[in-house]
Amino acid sequence: MNVANAAVRVHGLVKNHGRGQGRVRAVDEVDLEVPEGQTLAVMGPSGCGKSTLLHLLGGLERPSAGEVWLAGRRVDTLSERALARLRRRSVGFVFQAFHLMEELSAAENVELPALLAGRSRREAKRRANLLLDRVGLADRGRHLPSQLSGGQRQRVAIARALANEPLVVLADEPTGNLDSAATRDVLRIFEELRSAGQTLVIVTHDERVAATADRLISMRDGMFVDDTRLAGSATGWLGGLIGLEG
């Protein structure tokens, strides 16, 4: 796998939190390549460093050591300003707590990234309507986040993450606050994104979410302990679960 077609690549990535005695190594010399179009899940118990890894990939935090490459461009050395511009074009974030702006309607929330990227209001609006339709909320554009259910809010957040057609969508416990029906809705959207060739990195502690990915990395104490390809090997066991003779 070469750098060119890896959407995300990190090498020797280290992130320390705190100083001196209280120093914690949240991410400990990690290497990773996520090819374009792959859906990657990162799993681990809370505090294993998976959220920090996601923040490092999206340029929200700077690594203590190592390199981060997005679309063949090294980003850990960029200025805050350049990083922000890169985020506009290349990264879409989805958070556990949704992080929608409460005073803006669903459609206005989705428009925001396009406006920040300097697109015209009309273009931003058109794209927002398209995306809300894609996540099944075409009729909820004028609703405020407080008028939407948790699942609907997260779908708005996903639409927002897609507003500038990012290279990679980074999702941090996207279903952590959702019930199973809403989780299914979100996973269905991820499944559609996957088939559309969207690169997706999902951090989760839920096996049910992690198992939907093409590839699953398990993290513990800041290190990768397992890297499994899940795609492509159907076991066919499901149909065999039930026999009339049993």
Partner: protein, 177 residues
Amino acid sequence: MQDAVLAMLAKEPSHGYHLRARLQRSLGPLGESMNPGQIYVTLARLEKAGLVVCERADGLPDRPERKVYALTATGQQRVATWLTEVSWPKPDLAEFHLKLVAAAAAGLADPVELVAAQRRELLRRMRETQRAVLAEPDGSAAVLLLEGVVLRLQADLRWLAACERAWSKVDDEAEDA
């Protein structure tokens, strides 16, 4: 499964193919592997046991020769008993547990590796089940069943995670010693 077929006849007598369709609807992807003959074999057995009777109904012009199955009194009783039963499938974890113990004791294999392999297998199953869930249309009865399967797999995966932690610790202590 015989009990389930009996219970489905409790409401009204039914054709064999009709029963099969109902079963498949409720089971979703889990019922896909059922072949058409299986239901008739089951019904024949039930008839032999005196739990159902087979009545030949007047065939319609386009579908002649149709058998309609109905519950006998014994069958009714059997259904009532089945409904009040509280039996539950036993989780069979002892075998895998013993496998790890034996492998460790004899030095035949690394229990942590065994756990990891098992985990991968369960994750693939989980993936398959989740995809089946996502493929189900809204309001499908089978989703609930699939969710049960998913939750069981999740429980098993969590147990495997516990096994992995425990056996890793044993490894570490062995290395330290």
